[in-house]
């Protein structure tokens, strides 16, 4: 790739998803991250009970992310051809798992704040 800069990457992602959807997704990701950091700062501690549920949701996030990628493309598990493909697959799964865990934890914290 020539000039693989942040602006190029943004331009490419805008084309993949469409400008509106891309920035909506970026906004959603930022919003969830900010909300997550907000509840961490607000509560001053992780609630292990909420974290447990978040952890339990991780496999679902991982599977959903992989299935999403395969559904959006003409490809499946049998197309894994080399080490980088396994890394990409695990990366997609990890993103899905962490993303969903953060979302589940944040939603719980926002809905049921700890009693002071």
């Amino acid at each position: 790739m020539k000039d693989l800069t942040l602006t190029t990457m943004i331009a490419v992602f805008e084309e993949i998803f469409g400008t509106g959807l891309f920035w909506t997704m970026v906004a959603a990701a930022v919003l969830i991250t900010v909300a997550y950091i907000y509840v961490l700062i607000r509560d001053r501690s992780m609630s292990m009970q909420k974290f447990l549920l978040a952890q339990l949701s991780m496999p679902f996030g991982a599977v959903a992310a992989v299935v999403f990628v395969q559904m959006m493309t003409n490809s499946g598990f049998s197309d894994i051809g080399g080490p980088i493909d396994i890394i990409v697959l695990l990366g997609v799964a990890a993103l899905g798992a962490v993303g969903l865990a953060v979302l589940v934890y944040t939603i719980q914290s926002l809905m049921r704040p700890p009693s002071r």
Partner: protein, 438 residues
């Protein structure tokens, strides 16, 4: 914990986020250089990948220039998508958009072909008879498919009679799939050809071969098909190391190479194809035949005296320096894309590398200095080997492999990630390039 502490944290956090955002904005603004003030007249022939990408960069680089772009087609084609259309993986509409969708309002767009170029008086005449003077000219009209050069072949045959020709355009690519799909179901002899001239994307004939073989395989009909790849010379690809890899893949997949077999004529009624070979004519029967006709520069280029006179005789590619893409006899003329008389380089990936080079030399010439950017012949080909896998092959003028991700994405390995790039990221990158952003 006190409330005061909490407030400090929140303020710090928000401050941090805001300063990060400000830094990003400042950095992206600093990258854009101040536009050059000029009254130069720049004419660009062709609003395909090259012409469109260049014009969208020039409007940011030049202030006050009169930029005119000519193209007879109202439709813009995403040509890298045609091989997917011809394998039934995407609809024809995947490759189609409007030419005007990609052009900004600050330029003049003339929906006509260039009918004449006079490099001495620096004038372009349009098909409608309009004369346009220029100070700088960029020729990027693409190439023409010489369908008549294959005796017995005509475009209306595509899709029936077991004939496919995916280069002919989106609808023809879709009809190619009709013929190819029938072959993957009924089986028989499939012959996949390529011309002996320079051609756009020399990987596409191989992709079509691999895809149709793979689809026949997954539909359970591999035993019924006999696939022959008719190469134009003694290799399967211009880059020796890639040619060897393809030879091994063919061997593994049971695809038979027929070296130095150049398609000359067809008899659709008899399903008989005649090839020019070193040992004279050879006739082969087929159930599916993929035709790629010889390719040449458009007539307007060949008649304007801009072509090489001692290279690629009869093909008419523009005589340019292979590193600067500047005409060797008329320094105010540049060539971009398929029409440029350089080895290799007839792909959208080449265009992506060529556009900044032409931009640099053009803007430098307007400023009265010499440009410094050089094109090294870079070309990229996500060589699809089956639905779901491809090899990300990148190379230069010297047949060196030039991987973008060395040690991470192996160029000669059939990988899922290379397929994902082709299917997901390539069109997006292409569109970003058209907008002048990549």
């Amino acid at each position: 914990m006190t409330d005061a502490n909490f407030e400090t944290s929140r303020r710090m956090f928000l401050g941090l986020a805001a300063s990060g955002l400000a830094a990003t904005v400042a950095a992206s603004r600093a990258m854009a250089a101040a536009p050059v003030k000029t009254s130069a007249r720049v004419v660009i022939i062709g609003a395909g990948a090259g012409g469109t990408a260049l014009v969208n960069r020039l409007v940011d680089r030049l202030e006050g220039a009169k930029i005119t772009i000519l193209d007879p087609s109202k439709e813009h084609l995403y040509q890298p998508g045609l091989s997917l259309v011809a394998a039934g993986l995407k609809p024809a509409s995947y490759t189609q958009s409007k030419t005007t969708d990609w052009l900004s309002g600050d330029i003049e767009y003339i929906n006509e072909a260039a009918a004449g170029i006079d490099p001495e008086t620096r004038t372009v005449t349009t098909a409608g008879g309009q004369k346009i003077g220029y100070d700088f000219l960029v020729v990027a009209p693409g190439l023409v498919l010489d369908n008549d050069a294959i005796e017995g072949f005509s475009l209306d045959l595509i899709g029936s009679n077991g004939i496919g020709a995916l280069y002919a355009g989106p609808d023809y690519a879709a009809r190619t799939w009709q013929a190819a799909q029938k072959f993957t179901e009924d089986g028989g002899v499939g012959i996949f050809t390529r011309p002996a001239t320079e051609m756009k994307c020399a990987g596409a004939p191989l992709k079509h071969t691999f895809l149709i073989d793979d689809i026949a395989r997954t539909t359970g009909n591999a035993g019924k098909t006999n696939i022959i790849y008719a190469a134009n010379n003694n290799s399967l690809f211009g880059v020796p190391i890639v040619s060897e890899k393809v030879r091994m893949l063919f061997d593994n997949r049971g695809i038979t190479p027929a070296y130095s077999h150049v398609l000359k004529s067809i008899e659709p009624g008899k399903r008989l194809a005649t090839f020019d070979t070193p040992d004279g004519d050879a006739e082969l029967e087929y159930d599916y035949l993929h035709v790629i006709p010889p390719q040449r520069a458009p007539d307007v280029i060949r008649q304007s005296g801009l072509s090489w006179s001692d290279k690629w005789i009869g093909q008419g590619w523009v005589e340019v320096d292979k590193q600067t893409l500047r005409h060797l006899r008329y320094p105010e003329i540049f060539a971009l894309g398929d029409v440029a008389g350089v080895p290799k380089g007839k792909t959208a990936a080449s265009v992506k590398w060529q556009v900044p080079v032409v931009e640099d030399h053009l803007v430098a010439a307007i400023e009265g200095r010499e440009g410094t950017a050089l094109y090294n012949g870079y070309t990229s080909c996500p060589l699809i080997t089956r639905v779901g896998r491809a090899m990300l092959i990148e190379f230069d003028y010297n047949n060196n492999l030039t991987p973008s991700f060395p040690g991470i994405i192996a160029p000669l390995e059939e990988l899922w990630i290379s397929w994902l790039m082709k299917e997901v990221a390539l069109k997006a990158t292409y569109n970003a390039m058209l907008r002048g952003k990549a």
